[in-house]
Amino acid sequence: MTTAETESVESFRARARDWLAGNMPRLDENAPPPALGDDDEEWVRARELQRMLYAGGFAGICFPVEYGGLGLSLAHQRAFTQETAGYEMPVQLNIPTFSIVCATLLDMGSEEQKRERISAAIRGDEVHCQFLSEPSGGSDLAGLLTRAELDGDTWILNGQKTWSTSAYAADWGLCLARTNWDVPKHRGLTMFLIPTRAPGLHMNRVKMVNGSREFCEEFFTDVQLPATAVVGEVNDGWAVASRQLFHERNAVGGGSPFVSGLAGRPRALGGQSPFTIARATGRAAEPGVRERVGEWVAMETVQHQMVARVGRAIGTGALPAPAASLLRLFHAESAQRATDLAMDVAGAQIAAGVGTEEGVVGRAGIAYLSRQGASLGGGSSEMARNQISERLLNMPREAAADRDIPFNQVKRGRA
């Protein structure tokens, strides 16, 4: 597409506004937030909504035309997203399908992988997920133990993964496995693109303290994969994973061009902000409560301002890519502060619900139980601090006891 053919942002915005008004269903502001742990219907709905966007010509705004997208700029995407306020949107597809998996395939995938997977996702026909973390792994992703061995032309996969967001709803997943144990850990990994319904793949949903069941764990027993399942090069899977991690940080931080549509109220709080709680508990007149609600308003606002500034700066090169960790860290802080403030504001009411229902305030209590989610998901805050100090501030790297050591000689713990 030449410059002459590109629609102006404002024209695109106007067209999107009209189209949205004429075609997309309005959000029901009064609908209760969906119960956590029972979101199968949401996924069906997300695919439907994505198909509508695709039919209307507003899907995959920043993806290249040859893979089913519109090939437009971040400014177009942002304009579209702003216009979606008040409409139902398939926001579940933003992370990981579009902004992590498709973004990574775009960078590192084979032509076939790009053509098939990205366009299917844009059409609303497929959902993608990631099989990265392992139970023994924590922050040390590259220390993973799942193995893939070549048997003729076929890869045989064995091992266990966990923390796969929404994997139960997905069709394909990016799976990182060890293919060489005699070299240092980063050099023996390979990334595979695998169907979630492959024989030998068994999946469970993990129940979280807030009742959510969005994470899955998977057991791979002699799962067979063709050579074309490899993404990037054999034993160069870490390069692919690094792109995924970059895109994940960017997406979680709000800087991704592949995120489309406003998410509405943040789910982490179950819609129960300190403001809502102050109203619900009848404490809005107390000065201490007002102070805390104001603090929340400020933190939320600064969080958005950070995303805008750092996203822009990474875009222009004013800040290097690892600056995305600034967003990651600040997001965790503001999300956590919100749960703390909600608890403070609720005071004695946080302990109980309304009748046998948890109610507005009880949901804030439950959100408080998963307070750390914001500094664990998408890499821990500790890893973000390592990134910032080492990659952005150029401080000396942490001594790693597994650096340059063949992986089969690295010490492992008991947990």
Partner: protein, 376 residues
Amino acid sequence: MELELTADQKLFQSSARSLLEKDHSLDRLRGLAPGEPAWDRDSWQRGAELGWAATIVPEELGGGSVSGEGVRDLTLLAEELGSVVAAGPFLPVNVVLAGLVAAHGSGPDHAATIESLVAGEQVATWAVYEPGGQWAPEAARVAATPTGEGWRLDGTKDRVEAGLEADLLLVTATGPEGLVQLLVPASAEGVAVSPQWALDLSRPLAEVRFDGVVVGAEAVVGTPATTPEVLERQLQIALLVQCAEMCGGLDRMFALTMQWGFDRYSFGRPLASYQALKHRYADMRTWLEACHATTQAAAEAVQAGSADAPQLVSVAKSFVAERAQWILQDCVQLHGGIGVTWEHDLHLYLRRATSDRALYGTPEDHRRRLADLSSL
């Protein structure tokens, strides 16, 4: 924990531990279906047989403590129960006993009730919160109206611990001449108890409506003159139990997280070798010691009936409840993802600590009370 225990106290502690291991598994708690009772009366009865409702009741009223310092023994026990997030009416029964014992000799006689509570034959609880309200017992809206022979009660209480199971409700109400506390049978006509969703899985709560409930004059606990100090005593015991059980839970969860730090490897070395984490363990260890220090100091003051006991329980509650949150949430963080799964133990402790933080005065409430008590 207490740094030094007598042989008798150690025995008392170990008998409690044995029963807790048998009756109070965390897996049972985690597996409760909605509406399923968190504890049963048999189990509470077994606790009562070990003296769990006896420590702060004088021997002449059927109680007794192993060390002769009942409040110290109570906190010792509360630590043990807290360390396994034990379900049961330990807190409300002891709080009601604290009130009845404090009122003993002023107003109607409740010796028989005391005896049956000590023996675990009856269960009682304190109905003090009101729907939508914060901690404000002195502003009770439940109305106690004199009827000539007795009292009529109207209004609603909520967040009543063990409300569904209790035989007796100690109701803090407002009468024509100020606060009055009435001991009301849950079976009395006009009492309607309904379950209330609770954050703490181990402590079912209830809402209790009083609709023209009539009780005799003998239902009164204390006199107008003694009610303030009886209420204060109830609060002090509630706070001590909360602080001690939080300490017990923190000890357990900190130990678990310590072990995790040694066992879990990342990048070829244990988490415990990372300075940024080591420093957080050091902070937690420090706060944990401070939690014990202030809880034990408060217990001593309440035991001795010191003039500064009201201050010291508020100091302890405001401090321990806040630090419990800091420590437990950081334990979650150090555990990583599994720390926020339903299958992990941490959330059971976090639920208890969050509920303890909320009830009988939040840290903020107690800080304002400390300002009051400091004559600011």
